[in-house]
């Protein structure tokens, strides 16, 4: 390499470093201040008592916030509500999504039309969906209207603690299943047609093809859908907040972990404790993500 080209090469490299960081600058700046710094901040503050009124002040309290979590009845209620929410919503929405995707993937006319229609709830805001469902469950609403039309007894759906969370579950399944349906549809279209053709030649039935080709192929995407479902449902907030006007009622039946964090931070102004609860939620979510990644990796090695 001559001195000249070497020089030019060095210039080009220096230019690339500069250009690279100029292109990255907005991202580094914004993600640094509003993403990476907050994570560090959250970890540091979870071990402190934070005074929010007037000048913000901090006092190191060690593990006190975490000990308090274990003794807090409302944490257990929120965990129980959220866990039952996850346990019911995730399996049902996953199966519904798969069923709809399988039907749409068969050679059926008008499938893109159906797909557009099914997607409507997914693009609508959670605030609007919650209001629409409250209006349906309302004492003058559609649900009671249908019941009285059938001469069945009507009911105060919104006021019953045993029903409130189930009402949100139904809404959530209805609005999220189409999103996962599209993910399944994309995965179904990736299965090579030749596999099915070969199986047909071997005399496999439709059911056998489904069991031995479709299901194994969909395993990774199913893991993905389930973990995304778990993460999404664990973060339930908007619907509970709007439904209960922020209280988590009736009788704490719609209290979720994120709603509890919100209440401690902004109603009780107990920021340090709220952050300790946030770390607990983060641990739950990270664990499910890591489990998914590990399972997914094994899947790919097969």
């Amino acid at each position: 390499m001559s001195a000249l080209t070497k020089d030019r090469w060095r210039n080009r490299k220096a230019g690339d470093s500069l250009a690279g960081y100029l292109f990255m600058a907005p991202t580094i700046l914004i993600a640094g201040v509003f993403l990476i710094l907050p994570i560090a901040y959250a970890i540091a503050l979870a071990f402190q008592k934070v005074q929010l009124l007037g000048d913000v002040s901090y006092q190191f309290t060690g593990l006190k916030n975490f000990v308090r979590i274990a003794q807090d009845d409302r944490v257990w209620i929120a965990l129980k509500n959220t866990a039952s929410y996850v346990a019911i919503v995730v399996p049902i929405q996953t199966m519904l999504a798969l069923t709809l995707a399988l039907i749409l993937n068969s050679q059926i006319k008008g499938r893109s039309w159906f797909r557009v229609a099914f997607f409507l709830p997914t693009v609508t805001s959670s605030a609007v969906l919650t209001l629409i469902f409250m209006w349906i469950y309302n004492s003058n609403g559609l649900l009671n209207g249908v019941l009285s039309f059938l001469h069945l007894p009507t009911y105060n759906w919104l006021g019953d603690p045993n029903v409130a969370l189930k009402g949100i579950m139904i809404m959530n399944i209805w609005s999220t299943a189409p999103l996962f349906m599209v993910i399944y549809l994309a995965a179904l279209q990736d299965i090579p047609e030749t596999l099915y053709e070969a199986a047909t030649l071997d005399g496999a039935s439709r059911w056998e093809k489904f069991l031995h080709i479709t299901i194994p192929f969909l395993k990774p995407v199913t893991f993905f859908v389930i973990v995304m479902g778990i993460i999404g449902t664990f973060q339930l907030f908007d619907q509970s907040y709007i439904f209960s006007a922020g209280s988590g009622g009736p009788n704490d039946s719609t209290l979720t972990i994120v709603l509890l964090i919100y209440q401690y931070a902004f109603k009780n102004l107990d920021m340090g404790y709220a952050l300790a609860l946030t770390l607990m939620l983060a641990a739950i979510l990270m664990t499910s993500t890591i489990i998914q990644r590990t399972l997914f990796k094994e899947e790919r090695l097969d």
């Binding site: 991202t27 993600a31 993403l35 503050l45 159906f114 907040y241």
Partner: protein, 275 residues
């Protein structure tokens, strides 16, 4: 053959039934927004109003003078967030895909790691940072923290990795620098990826509830979801008004969805399958 036709009919029945389940709540809400309070309180199952009235739509703008303001706040936030994301995510994605700068790998890894952190985790510290910046109840507080998105940086990177290099090399021969090449050659050809991004970022920002709830306390600065929630608290049994307000709020998102629908499915498949 006969059994095949039977099973196809069954599939159609399931699809149509599910379409009804999907659309009925919207139809019911839309119809309520054109009914009078008297008709709503009387119950009844008719989707068609006995007497179609636009009074609900007039009332919400007159009785709630802030409604127009909320609409404007939401539009300002969603449009700014979308434009900034398109620019910043593309720039970062391009740098990660094409420019060999020191730390390239490290930043890529960091972005993948950030992808795994859900927004709720950073909510409270973000609030504290915005508070100390004096950005609570401001547009910049609403816009700047959402101006980049790890998912779409990753998506743009994947897009640019597969982008034909020859075009850029030709541009370099023509004497265009990195920035000129990017803005004049590369970005105009990235339209499909940008369209997919537009729809997701716009909807995400338009529908966002928790973050605005935390940082906005001044009703003048509310975005529509917060306004709707406040409105609901005030007019709790006036479902005709609440539904009219909900319909106005849903319309812009539906328009964006209808316009970019083609790219939407593509984007879901990407963020879902490969994210």
């Amino acid at each position: 053959m006969k059994s095949l036709r039977w099973s196809t009919s069954l599939l159609y029945i399931v699809l149509i039934a599910y379409t009804v389940i999907t659309l009925l709540p919207f139809a019911w809400a839309l119809s309520a927004s054109f009914k009078s309070l008297a008709e709503i309180s009387a119950g009844g199952l008719s989707l068609l109003p006995k007497q179609l009235t636009l009074a609900n739509y007039q009332t919400i703008f007159v009785q709630e003078p802030l409604f127009g303001r909320w609409l404007m706040n939401s539009a300002i936030a969603a449009i700014s967030v979308t434009l900034l994301n398109l620019l910043f995510n593309s720039m970062a994605g391009y740098a990660l895909a094409r420019i060999q700068f020191p730390g390239n790998q490290l930043w890529f890894f960091l972005i993948l790691a950030v992808l795994m952190v859900p927004g709720q985790i950073t909510l409270l510290p973000k609030f504290l940072i915005l508070k100390s910046l004096g950005w609570l109840n401001t547009y910049q507080g609403l816009i700047v923290p959402s101006a980049v998105n790890a998912t779409f940086i990753f998506m743009m990177r994947q897009f640019f990795v597969n982008f034909p290099k020859e075009l850029e090399e030709a541009a370099a021969l023509d004497g265009l620098g990195r920035f000129g090449t990017f803005f004049q050659i590369v970005l105009p050809l990235a339209k499909p990826a940008l369209a997919a991004q537009t729809i997701f970022v716009f909807m995400g920002s338009w529908n966002e509830f928790l973050m605005p709830l935390v940082i906005l306390s001044d009703p003048e600065m509310f975005t529509l979801p917060l306004g709707l929630n406040a409105f609901k608290g005030q007019y709790i049994s006036y479902w005709n008004y609440i539904m009219a307000a909900s319909m106005i709020f849903t319309l812009p998102a539906l328009a964006v969805y209808a316009f970019f629908n083609r790219y939407f499915i593509q984007g879901v498949a990407f963020t879902g399958g490969k994210g």
